[in-house]
Amino acid sequence: MDIAELKSELERLHSASFGWALSCCRRDHAEAEEVLQTVYLKILEGKARYRGESSLKTWLFAVIRKTAIGEYRKKLVRSLVFLGSSEKDEDGVSSADGPTKLFEKSELQKQFRVALAKLPSRQREALHLVFYEDLSLSEAANVMGISVGSARQHYERGKKHLREWLSNSETENGIVWRTKETPSAV
């Protein structure tokens, strides 16, 4: 695949890639943008090469995940060196831009973000890849670099946590949701 072809494919996947980068960067827009830029740089430099072993989307998402983890580690080391120089929001959700603030008018969506941020990273990633990116569990497992069984476990546990959160929020809001659920057909 030549660079022009790859560029058009990346452009097509750009929105989904940014959403995935956001999820990997704990909803930090600036960091997600930086990660995506680094990923493109890696592709341009040839450090990340697509060999056609999986779908381009799966490969790209795996590269984004790895890059985000690397950036997070660097940031962690930096924060350990310069203790107390930067503080994050308590709920783990960064201050978003204008449109996001408008969107967060929906209280439920705001709570959902908080609940999502509180999930363990693997569970959040599995849920994001399945619900947000419409990937199958095997594709999600490929992106996360784990077995399908593990991915399924993370997915089920994450769903269970969100279900609990949903039922709590419903009780608070006085809405009764159906708690019965059919086994996952994903």
Partner: protein, 180 residues
């Protein structure tokens, strides 16, 4: 695939999230161009390389210290220690070569080794002098076993001069024998 109520709800929440994210997604061209013009990071100090170099330097220093220490403490020749003279014999006992146990402190070991070496050299010199003296005496007192055969009654005449106050008869003995 039929989704349950909760799953539908989750799907809806994720869809809302996706829609919101799409609004804030930066333009692809901008990100791509920034990546293209981004300065290539040149790592002057690779952490792995630095760690390896530190380990290497540490190893070299340790080896140097170890080699220096081993050279000073373990001498190749055994240390000669003097044994005090045995009373009654009158003679000093010859130096006995013994291996001294390694001292726990390297500085003391060096001092002791040097002192022992100097003492042993001095003793060796004294012994050599005594041997030379003895040899000279024995050479001076030496006499041939056949020297008695060479002796004659007139040995005294050859070894002494005639005296003026000696009698004529005695002086005659110095004159050559003439047939009268």
């Amino acid at each position: 695939m039929e989704l349950s109520g909760e799953q539908k709800k989750l799907q809806a929440l994720f869809s809302e999230l996706k829609a919101a994210d799409e609004q804030t997604t930066p333009h692809f061209g901008a990100t791509w161009n920034r990546a293209q013009i981004a300065p290539r990071k040149i790592r002057v100090l690779n952490p792995g390389f630095v760690a390896a170099m530190i380990l290497l330097v540490f190893g070299v220093v340790v080896f140097a210290v170890w080699s220096r220490y081993s050279r000073t403490t373990t001498s190749p020749h055994p240390v000669i220690a003097t044994v005090p003279p045995i009373p009654g014999t009158g003679a000093e006992a010859p130096p006995v070569a013994t291996k001294e146990p390694r001292a726990p402190q390297p500085k003391n070991a060096v001092i002791v080794a040097r002192r022992n070496k100097a003492t042993s050299q001095h003793n060796a010199m004294l012994a050599a002098n005594r041997r030379l003296e003895k040899d000279a005496k024995s050479i001076a007192n030496w006499s041939s076993p056949t020297s008695a055969l060479l002796e004659s009654p007139s040995d005294e005449i050859f070894s002494s001069l005639p005296q003026l106050n000696q009698s004529a008869t005695q002086l005659k003995s110095f004159l050559p024998n003439r047939a009268n």
